[in-house]
């Protein structure tokens, strides 16, 4: 499989707003939300991106679609670097790159009917408001499991899971090749999460769409993804085939993350790897490996040098695996 979209040394930095004095003396706080990451997503593949809040996973997803301008690095979509394009040059690419948001309550305009919401991307790219458009929208609704006769209703008349389906239909309207799904199930009820996971997987199979599936829910990510990337404080610490990463995690952070998942089985009293502390504030990034203050195996090297992602199919950024 070839790479559909490839990140090369992508960096997204933010400056924390600071007072006049700090600015005068050049002491602005720099937040390295995404700090030099590289990976690719292949045609029709689902790449799961996991990490805790503040790890930079949403920023990565948004930067990939150029919803945030990256500080440096390349975003190659079929070989074309999106990071170097101007807004107007970017426009023809937008139809191939779509997004599904976490919160189906705030991401749908409450004053628009479902039909108008789903038709909007089509109208943006040249469709005419006519019977055919309406038919197309009805087909899209059917495709995501919504009743087409509800086309003239407003978002508030739908439940959370159904609203998420509206968001998915809108993302599908232009038949994109790549969709960023940013925590698409986090705001949904447990019994509805499975419906949305099944729907996304079905769309991948049927339409060959590639997904970046961003989530903090490791079980869901393991289930839906072909490969998994684990992020910690702006860096990818592990990347590999989903089963490999889940069953044989190499990075101490991935290991802790998986073992911290409470198993839905009262008999399974697993050995939990306990992590000290919590992720630091993003502008007080520790030197060396970002994870070392919490890592149970940290040694001298980890405190001064930054490990890089190494390995062929299953790669890890850790000095421990290097020395193995």
């Amino acid at each position: 499989m070839t790479a559909l979209i490839e990140l090369q040394q992508l960096k997204v930095y933010f400056t924390k707003e600071s007072g006049l004095i700090a600015r005068l003396f050049g002491k602005e706080k720099l937040i390295k939300a995404v700090d030099n990451i590289s990976f690719d997503i292949r045609t029709g593949e689902i790449l799961g991106l996991v990490g805790e809040s503040g790890s930079g996973k949403s920023t990565t997803g948004r930067a990939m679609l150029r919803l945030i301008k990256p500080t440096s690095g390349k975003i190659l979509y079929k070989g074309k670097d999106l990071a170097s394009l101007s807004e107007s040059e970017l426009r023809p690419y937008r139809r191939h790159l779509q997004i599904i948001f976490q919160n189906p309550y705030s991401s749908l305009n409450p004053r628009m009917t479902v039909g108008d919401i789903i038709a909007e991307p089509l109208l943006n790219f040249g469709a005419k408001r006519n019977k055919e458009l309406r038919k197309q929208v009805e087909q899209l609704m059917e495709e995501v499991g919504l009743a087409p006769e509800h086309i003239d209703r407003y978002p508030h008349e739908f439940s959370g899971g159904q609203r998420q389906r509206i968001g998915i239909a809108r993302a599908l309207a232009l038949r994109p090749e790549f969709i960023v799904a940013d925590e698409p199930i986090a705001a949904l009820d447990v019994s509805v999460q499975a419906q949305i996971i099944n729907l996304l997987k079905e769309l991948q199979k049927k339409l060959g769409i590639a997904f970046l599936f961003i989530s903090h829910d490791l079980r869901a990510v393991r289930y839906i993804s072909d490969r998994i990337a684990v992020m910690y404080l702006g860096k990818i610490v592990e990347l590999g085939p989903a089963a490999e990463v889940y069953e044989r995690p190499q990075h101490p952070y991935t290991q802790a993350l998986i073992s911290a998942l409470p198993a839905p089985d009262p008999k399974a009293r697993s050995e939990r790897i306990k992590l000290r502390g919590e992720p630091p504030e993003p502008f007080f990034m520790p030197p060396g490996c970002h994870f070392h203050p919490r890592c149970p195996y940290a040694f001298d090297k980890c405190r001064s040098l930054q490990p890089t992602l190494a390995g062929k199919d299953h790669s890890v950024a850790c000095f421990l695996s290097e020395s193995r």
Binding site: Q162, D189, V190, S191, V192, Q193, A194, R222, P262, P264
Partner: protein
């Protein structure tokens, strides 16, 4: 120790009555832990707020009994209730940022528990607060910081310190780890089970993994009612209510990648419930009578039960 019988808490709006909690019954023994699981809007939080008699308006407890240590809490005066809250029954909320006062140092907030309930003077209360904060992992050097200077996990530790301060007989924790990261969630759950000692615990959650690892008993709620109430191990090995069964089956299994089991449809609206079983429209086993007549309560050993037409 705690016996809730036929508890009913309704919310009255201009046009409708929302039956948030509609006839809930369960027991909790001394030192035991009970999980109340369910989806958003199923009434699990209202149920716990009812026990503390903290139901927000326009909600009202309209029926039932809450027997705590032989006394019906619904018969107590507001003053008597205030003496109970925080001392004999403590509560830990989901979001520690909104339940801590942002203007007060955390030591002051924890000390307040001691001065209110144990009548300690200012210095003694402060000393006791610092001691209990250290116990939950907050060093004395940080005791005088303000809530915003702490991370989410540390703030939840402060809440736990305040909750266990008076050795309450019952702790109610409403989604205590939902706002936290997975690795921090594990720390907080461990801390809670370690420090609660002999206190009984009601843990409200939507995460079945937490139920399995942290509690002895489970009550599964759906649309304001408990549909299954059983020991945790039994419920997980052999769920009897179709909703419980569906919930357990829809958790992604890392060893299988076949299509995920899904419960069809959406949770119902509480203001417009069907006359029969609220789960019937989504139930794979539903028969005609399910949507017409309320299902019977099927008693199991001691006080456990499930509520379904299906006899398993």
């Amino acid at each position: 120790m705690l016996r809730v019988q036929q508890l009913k808490t309704y919310f009255y709006t201009d046009s409708t009555v929302i039956k948030a909690v509609d006839g809930v019954s369960f027991d909790l023994a001394k030192g035991a832990s009970l999980a109340i699981v369910g989806e958003s809007g199923c009434g699990k939080s209202v149920c716990s707020l009812s026990i503390l008699r903290l139901v927000p308006t326009p909600g009202k407890i309209v029926g039932g009994k809450i027997i705590f240590d032989g006394v019906d809490l619904l018969e107590l005066s507001e003053k008597q209730m205030r003496q109970l809250r925080g001392k004999r029954i403590a509560m830990i909320f989901q979001d520690p940022m909104t339940s801590l006062n942002p203007y007060l140092r955390v030591s002051t907030q924890v000390a307040e528990v001691f001065s209110t309930h144990k009548q300690l003077n200012r210095n003694a209360a402060r000393a006791a607060a610092i001691e209990i904060l250290e116990k939950v992992g907050i060093p004395a050097a940080r005791a005088d910081d303000y809530p915003h200077q702490f991370s989410g996990g540390m703030r939840q530790r402060v809440m736990i310190a305040a909750a266990i301060a008076c050795h309450p007989e019952l702790i109610i924790a409403d989604e205590p780890t939902t706002a936290l990261d997975v690795t921090v969630q594990a720390q907080i759950l461990d801390l809670l089970s370690e420090l609660r000692a002999n206190s009984s615990l009601i843990l409200i959650t939507h995460d079945l993994g937490i139920v399995a690892t942290a509690t002895d008993f489970v009550a599964v709620m759906y649309a304001g009612r408990i549909v299954e109430y059983r020991p945790t191990a039994d419920l997980f090995s052999n769920p009897l209510h179709p909703y419980t069964e569906g919930l357990l089956k829809s958790i992604p299994d890392p060893n299988r990648t076949t299509k995920l089991f899904q419960i069809g449809g959406q949770p119902p609206s509480l203001s417009n419930l069907p006359p029969g079983c609220a789960f019937a429209p989504r139930c794979p086993y539903a028969e005609p009578r399910c949507s017409q007549t309320p299902p019977p309560l099927r008693q199991l050993d001691s006080s456990y039960y499930y509520v379904c037409w299906l006899n398993r």
